[in-house]
Every structure is written in structure tokens, then in C-alpha cells.
């Protein structure tokens, strides 16, 4: 069955596990502010590649797992993932016809949206939101996107 393809693929599972691990990789000093969003990158790659199997629910769940691991306010990343995944579903079918640069713009908008949802929900949980460095992860995530996407694509569909 085509439907079970991503779940039985080792690339799918390993990429997700690695994404969660990388999120926790200890960074120091200034680098801490530039931590990219590995879970976002990997989840959105799979949403793009398998739009008929994976959807908003999968993204939401991935976000909730991230919340649990990170000890963040429960529902913060889940909501951000869910909403961004929905936006991707609207723009997604056309993504394949876009040029690389155009795709990068879409990812940038989604990542920005994701981070804004995280910041706003963080406000509810009593965190401050008054510094530009909160948007740095968006920049590093967008810069990483082409590499992650190409690497995962090559591994998933070698033919």
C-alpha cells in the first residue's frame, strides 16, 4: 500500500528522531539564540513529500511531542505546527512548480508564522517577547532548509 510508505521507511523514523535530538543539542553563548528548528524542518519536508498520508494531525502531534520533551507550555508547539501545516496544505500543491528560491520564500513565511505563534502563546504562559533575537531561529531554519530537503529527498527516493 502506498499509504503506509512513509511510516515504514527508516528515513522517516530516523529523521524524526534526529530532529528531536538536534533540538536538544547543547549550544553555548550567542549560538543559543540561533538554534534552528529541526523538528519544523523535518516535519515540513514530510508534509510536502507525502501530502496524502501526512497532514495537520501529524504536524500537531509532532509539536505536542516537542512540547513534552522541551517542557514548554503544553500545546505551544502543537498549535504552531498545526497552523503552519494548514497554511502549507493551502500552498503545498503548487510548491512543486516553484523555483528553489520561491520555495525558500514559502518556507520563510511558514517558519516566521510558526515562530510568531510560539511567541504569542509564550506571552500567555508569562514569558516576555521584547527582543529581536526571538526571530533569529527563523533565519537559521530557512538557511538550513535547502540542505535538509535535498539530503532527505536523496535518501528517501534514491532512484
Amino acid at each position: 500500500m502506498i499509504g503506509h510508505r512513509p511510516f515504514s521507511s527508516p528515513v522517516f523514523i530516523i529523521s524524526l528522531v534526529l530532529a528531536y535530538l538536534l533540538y536538544f543539542y547543547p549550544l553555548r553563548g550567542e549560538l543559543l539564540y540561533w538554534r534552528p528548528m529541526p523538528v519544523f524542518l523535518v516535519v515540513f519536508f514530510w508534509l510536502l513529500v507525502e501530502p496524502h498520508v501526512l497532514g495537520v494531525g501529524f504536524a500537531w502531534l509532532a509539536g505536542l511531542v516537542l512540547d513534552i520533551f522541551a517542557g514548554a507550555p503544553l500545546g505551544q508547539n502543537a498549535m504552531a505546527m498545526g497552523i503552519s501545516a494548514y497554511l502549507l496544505q493551502i500552498a503545498g500543491p503548487r510548491m512543486k512548480n516553484y523555483s528553489v528560491w520561491h520555495q525558500l520564500v514559502v518556507v520563510a513565511v511558514l517558519a516566521m508564522f510558526y515562530q510568531l505563534v510560539v511567541i504569542v502563546t509564550g506571552l500567555v504562559a508569562g514569558k516576555s517577547a521584547d527582543a529581536w533575537f526571538m526571530l533569529y531561529p527563523v533565519v537559521s531554519t530557512v538557511l538550513l532548509w535547502p540542505f535538509v530537503a535535498i539530503a532527505l529527498w536523496k535518501l528517501y527516493k534514491p532512484e
Partner: protein, 284 residues
């Protein structure tokens, strides 16, 4: 449709989490799940440290050994004087009818995880309930106070650092005993002093220690050094920047302080009621 339901669930979770303590026990259980992740991601660093240690040459080891021996000698010498001074201090305090100074015990702990969020300054250490760690316990490194425990698991605990913007602690200037409140601002290398009026005698280079007021931190542990004092005539209070003494970002080996204050607290609050968020109750 699905999206609306999922977002609604997320919103409800967020609201329950933010405004009620119902989810706290669940969350502290769930946070155990992240321990293996912290463990795996800290492997590269620890392997590096280990290889560095095991590849050290004999000459280097001997040099380090000699240095450590010298250091111990110096400290022992200072300790002898300390003993005499503390005896004298106890005697003088008893003359003043003041309570006896409390003696503190310490336990060495190791850092096993750092929060990935630059806005929440928390770390995870490898000591928990089985080692006697308790909620609100002060944590320090070899240079000064680092923070306090806000979550105790069986064999690990979560520590809120002094620099988190939800943390504040009462301090005192060594030079003249002026009291103030040192507050984290979310920067690993800065604390700010709150409510310091422009007439207060505080200047650059002053050393701050914990004052012991509030009963959470024992008195007399170094907290930081005043970096800059800024007077703005239009403002009711001065801006005082403090550099923390502890290597908040770098220390891997920490000390848990067991002070007698713990018993005192237990007596005064027998209901077992603990503040919802460790740091906030030290605020005025």
C-alpha cells in the same frame, strides 16, 4: 475542521497549563521523557572531555597534581584561620544574643542537560529525591550561587538559574550591608538590582552576597559584582548592573547546599505548601 479542533485542544491545554496547577504533576512526569535526549546529546561533549583526560600525558598530569596540591595547601591554611574567626564570630554573636550562624553541608552534582530555549534559563542536574534534593534548594558552583531547584525527580532535578527573568533573590553589599534584590533579566552575564534609590551607597566593584532574607538562600554566598551604576535624575530608582560570580553558562560541576534553613521552613509551613514557581516567592 480538523484544524479548528486541534487548535482548540492546544488552546485549552495552554490555558490550563498557564492558569491552573492541574497539569503540573503530569508535566513533571512527562519531562522525564527528555532525559534520554539530554543524555544522548551531551555525549559528544562528554566523550571530548573523556578523551582529553585519558590522552593527557604523564607530565601534564603531574603538573596538574602538583598545582592542585599547592591549592589545597593554600585553602587549608585559610581554613585554619577561618576556624578561629568563626569561633570568635559565634562568641561575639552570642554576646549580642543573636542566633548562631548556620553551618551548611554540600553535595556535588553534575550538569546533565541545558534548556534549549534561550528564554528559559534552566538546567537539569543528576541529583534527585534519593540524594535528598528538595524544592527550593540552593545550587552553586565553585565561584558563587547559580540558582535553585524548582522540580525534583527521583534522580534528577531541574534548576532555575539566577539569570532567568522569573528569578530574583535578596542580596547584600559586603562593604556596607546595603540590601537589595538581584533580578535575572534573561542574560547569562547580567543581573539587575531592583528598587535601589539614588541615595543608596553602592558603587562599581561592590561585591554582593546573598542576605538570607526570605529564608530560601543561606546568607553569605557570593552572588555577583556591581558592574555599572547608572543614575537617571528622571527615574525614581537607579539602574545597577551586576555580573554574576558563578560561571552560569559554563559550570558542569555544581554544589547542592544543604542548610539548616530547610528545617526551619518545614516548621513554619507545615502544610507542605510550596510556591508554584520556585523563584517568584523571593520577590518583594
Amino acid at each position: 475542521m480538523k484544524l479548528i479542533v486541534l487548535v482548540a485542544i492546544a488552546l485549552i491545554l495552554l490555558a490550563v497549563d498557564a492558569f491552573t496547577p492541574w497539569l503540573d504533576p503530569v508535566k513533571s512526569r512527562l519531562s522525564l521523557a527528555s532525559l534520554p535526549l539530554h543524555w544522548v546529546t551531551s555525549l559528544p561533549g562528554r566523550v571530548g572531555e573523556w578523551t582529553e583526560r585519558s590522552l593527557m600525558s604523564r607530565v601534564e598530569l603531574e603538573k596538574e597534581n602538583a598545582f592542585l596540591n599547592r591549592e589545597i595547601l593554600v585553602y587549608k591554611g585559610q581554613l585554619q584561620r577561618m576556624a578561629a574567626i568563626s569561633a570568635e564570630n559565634t562568641r561575639l554573636r552570642s554576646l549580642l544574643n543573636a542566633t548562631e550562624m548556620l553551618s551548611d553541608k554540600v553535595l556535588v552534582a553534575e550538569l546533565i542537560g541545558v534548556s534549549p530555549d534561550p528564554l528559559s534559563h534552566t538546567i537539569i542536574i543528576n541529583r534527585g529525591r534519593v540524594d535528598g534534593a528538595y524544592l527550593g534548594q540552593p545550587v552553586m558552583d565553585e565561584k558563587g550561587l547559580m540558582g535553585q531547584i524548582i522540580e525534583v525527580q527521583l534522580s534528577s532535578s531541574k534548576v532555575l538559574l539566577l539569570t532567568d527573568d522569573a528569578h530574583a533573590l535578596p542580596v547584600q553589599v559586603i562593604r556596607n550591608g546595603v540590601r537589595a534584590i538581584a533580578e535575572g533579566i534573561g542574560d547569562f552575564r547580567r543581573l539587575n538590582l531592583r528598587y535601589v534609590s539614588p541615595t543608596v551607597d553602592i558603587k562599581e566593584g561592590d561585591v554582593l552576597v546573598s542576605s538570607g532574607i526570605g529564608g530560601r538562600f543561606p546568607a553569605g554566598y557570593p552572588v555577583g559584582t556591581v558592574l555599572d551604576v547608572h543614575r537617571d535624575p528622571g527615574q525614581p530608582f537607579m539602574t545597577v548592573e551586576v555580573e554574576p560570580s558563578a560561571n552560569i553558562e559554563r559550570s558542569r560541576h555544581l554544589l547542592l547546599v544543604f542548610s539548616e534553613i530547610k528545617d526551619f521552613q518545614a516548621e513554619s509551613a507545615p502544610s507542605g505548601e510550596e510556591p508554584p514557581h520556585g523563584g517568584t516567592d523571593d520577590r518583594p
